[in-house]
Amino acid sequence: MSAGLLLGLLCSFALGAALWLAIAGWPRRAGDRLAAIGYSLLLGMLGSGLLVGLQRAVPGDRIFLATLPVLGAVGAALLGLAYWRSRRIVSPVAAPPAEASLPRWSWLLLALIALRFAFVLDEAVLRPVFAWDAWNAWSLKAKTWFGLGQVPYLEPVAWWQSADSAAHTALAWRYPGLLSRVELWLAGAAGAWNEGAVATAWPLLWLALVAGCAGQWMALGVSRLGSLILAFMLASLPLLSVHAGLAGYADLWVSAALTFAVLAWLRWLQDGDRSQLLLALCCAALLPLLKFEGAIWALLLVGLAMLVQVPARWRWVGLGVAALLALAVVLVSWFLHLPWLALVAETISGATTSGSEVSRIAAAVAFFNGLFGQNNWHLLWPLLVACLIWQRKRLRQREIGLLALLLGGGLAALFCLFVFTPAAKWAASETATNRLVLHWVPLALSLLALLLRDVQWPGRRPDASPR
């Protein structure tokens, strides 16, 4: 790892940490400290990508130095805000209770997480960008932008018509550019189009996801040991490790942003902590900038969150208004020829698929095989189903019920997409379903965590440690 890359990563983390401090203040509890690390890494790297987007004319070899002052200014402003916040909001000063120590064997789980991280980091750094969409969609733009500055990517007809000799086109011309800008930022920090340097972001994001989830689970009332066990379970999931090691896909980013948004929202619902609501909004706002599916998940989350706030007697009216709003969005998008609508239309109509028709049963079998039969998720899904049956009464608790509803909605949307539309071909070929399921996997573990939160395990005393 070069000094430049290390500096770039540290700058990103510092930016994210400043944002956390400005929004949520200094983390005082163990759960908050872990969550702060996770959120800072995600928000910092994506924030760096956003700031890189302000320097469109600068080529890659100068982008780091050109962005650094802006990043410094934003970071300083956020730190100022954090200072002002700390003066204005006086936290109750109470000596934290003595922390219950973890059993000795549990350190083995931490060691296993560290070992897995070392493996995925080494794999990501050593192997040049490998997986298909990684170079076809995200790295192609980043590599081009590194050489030429952030030239526009146009749709094919516009590309033919454009007199601008800088205008480019590509199969992924309409994909959001934020992830490519994160790659550009890291390549700029490394000083060259170094695919290994760019790839370091993915293992770090994997670590951020594990840390952020563990922290938020603790803050939501899961014991320290329970959070550690669940963090190990999350880190051990095979397809999650693959997305960290074979760096370059957007799905891990969508998964992290969606998970962090939902967990922060749940904390706001549980504790009424407005800073968590703000964090949830920040993470949700990033989703559409990462991938098209991110926009759908953001709408699902925001829609549910708004519906929850509507008084019960107004909910049907609220649903009607939401439906009208959705219709209006579609109409406006159609009128303005926004690319997302064309993508949806092509997917549902089958214009972007090829090959023979696939039966719905075959697609459904392939979908469930991905969850229960293949080596992607260990025993996560059967375990979740069993716990949902076992702890079904807990679904009446607001946070747990809402999380189950959100997860069910997301999976139902994927099931409908992959069974009832021409996208079934991607389910049958097993090329897309699991990657989209990955967006929801940390939330599936979060649901598991909340379902088991209050179970009295034999031989364990209640955990009185600070969360």
Binding site: P128, L140, G147, N376, P382
Partner: protein
């Protein structure tokens, strides 16, 4: 826990394993006949040396692999459905396949991709292969670089073939075959980012994840319905069982990840980062892209400013060609079509890789397209599989 419950649990697990391993109750537990083939009985087309009973292969053939063959006398393949194979020091960058000839079609060579075993010995149940029938006259092992994820020139390492063995049908043979599939060494493929299991070629055994799920479900049912112990004790037993199953699966995945990573380290760890980006499984496409960029410069064009249409034999190769050409102003032909390529549109370049030769009329300097349309063109590179044309009026691009 009552003894009958323990017996019931063991019976359920054995039954499930039998079902998932697809064991026929009509076969004998152990193979009645064995047909042993020593490694030294095989001949390598190049680089092989007899070493005691084994065949040591110290150098690669021209395809960066090795082919080890020998004649056999198998009157009916159905009598010998299980093949056991023993290799030593087989690098994680190499794949393995069985090759064989049948007496009824001696000119045809048939292949079955084999799973690299964890430990020295692997097994495959050939009764599931449609072509494994009739009299077999020759068998062999093809060892070759892992496709997609390993650059061929870095794949080979010396190895030994210690021997092979055919077994008559038996439970032991079936269990050995399933064990090899469940625990075998795997490599990265493009599919790995989407699904684990199908990413390693044909799936020959039922899912161990499903086996554990069903086994745990039956265990849970039996324990909750028939155990006289307290719910707390049952909960503890279930928690420990689930944890053990999870750890078992994770051990399997960790070993698989380590195998895949070992291949990455073997190829890339000794290199600097610029060298790594040059050592690719599709280094030929990278080299073609570099030639195109140089040819454009030689033609007085800026590769990143002129329109460059790109086509290739497949979506994958076309997309890789585009990536290697970046930051060139490329357009994949399947996306843009010929669009506005007219003499008035100015100069456009067209690069193809592994494509049938376009109808280029050198005498008239015209490129004839499929739909009866032709454009003035000049050929800049004619080095199959790579070709590059300049389309449009002569002059500065």
């Amino acid at each position: 826990m009552p003894r009958t419950l323990v017996i019931a649990l063991v019976a359920v697990w054995l039954l499930l394993i039998g079902i998932f391993a697809e064991i026929s109750p009509f076969q004998s537990p152990w193979p009645q006949q064995r047909y042993v083939l020593e490694g030294a009985g095989f001949a390598a087309l190049s680089g092989g040396q007899i070493d005691d009973d084994a065949l040591a292969v110290d150098s690669a053939d021209e395809n960066q692999g090795a082919l080890l063959v020998r004649s056999v006398e198998i009157a009916d393949a159905a009598d010998w459905p299980v093949l056991r194979y023993r290799f030593e020091s087989l690098a994680p960058t190499l794949e393995l396949a069985l090759v064989y000839r049948r007496a009824d079609s001696p000119s045809d060579v048939r292949t079955v991709v084999l799973t690299r075993p964890r430990g020295g010995t692997g097994s495959v149940d050939l009764s599931r292969e449609k072509e494994w029938q009739g009299a077999i006259t020759e068998i062999g092992f093809a060892v070759y670089p892992v496709a997609q994820s390993v650059p061929a020139q870095h794949a080979f390492r010396p190895f030994r073939l210690n021997g092979a063995e055919f077994w008559s049908p038996s439970w032991a043979g079936r269990i050995a075959s399933v064990s090899t599939e469940w625990s075998g060494r795997r490599s990265w493929s493009l599919m790995s980012i989407s699904a684990l299991g199908p990413d390693s070629g044909a799936v020959r055994a039922r899912s161990p994840v499903l086996l554990l799920t069903l086994g745990l479900t039956f265990t849970l049912v039996l324990l909750t319905q028939f155990t006289p112990t307290t719910p707390a004790r049952t909960l503890r037993v279930i928690a420990i069982t689930v944890a053990a199953a999870w750890l078992l699966l994770d051990l399997r995945w960790s070993l698989s990840f380590a195998d895949r990573h070992a291949a990455t380290r073997q190829v890339y760890a000794p290199l600097t980062w610029p060298q790594r980006q040059e050592q690719l499984a599709d280094a030929d496409v990278l080299s073609a892209a570099q030639s195109v960029r140089q040819a454009l410069r030689d033609d007085g064009a800026d590769p990143d400013r002129v329109r460059l249409l790109v086509d290739a034999a497949s979506d994958f190769v076309r997309a890789r060609f585009v990536y290697h050409l970046a930051p060139a102003r490329t357009a994949p032909l399947n996306l843009t079509g010929w669009g506005a390529v007219t003499p008035q549109a100015g100069v456009v370049y067209f690069a193809t890789f592994e494509q049938p030769e376009p109808m280029f009329d050198a005498a008239e300097s015209r490129l004839r397209l499929d739909f009866g349309f032709s454009l003035p063109a000049r050929q800049l590179i004619d080095a199959p599989p790579l070709r590059l044309y300049r389309i449009g009026p002569e002059g500065t691009p």
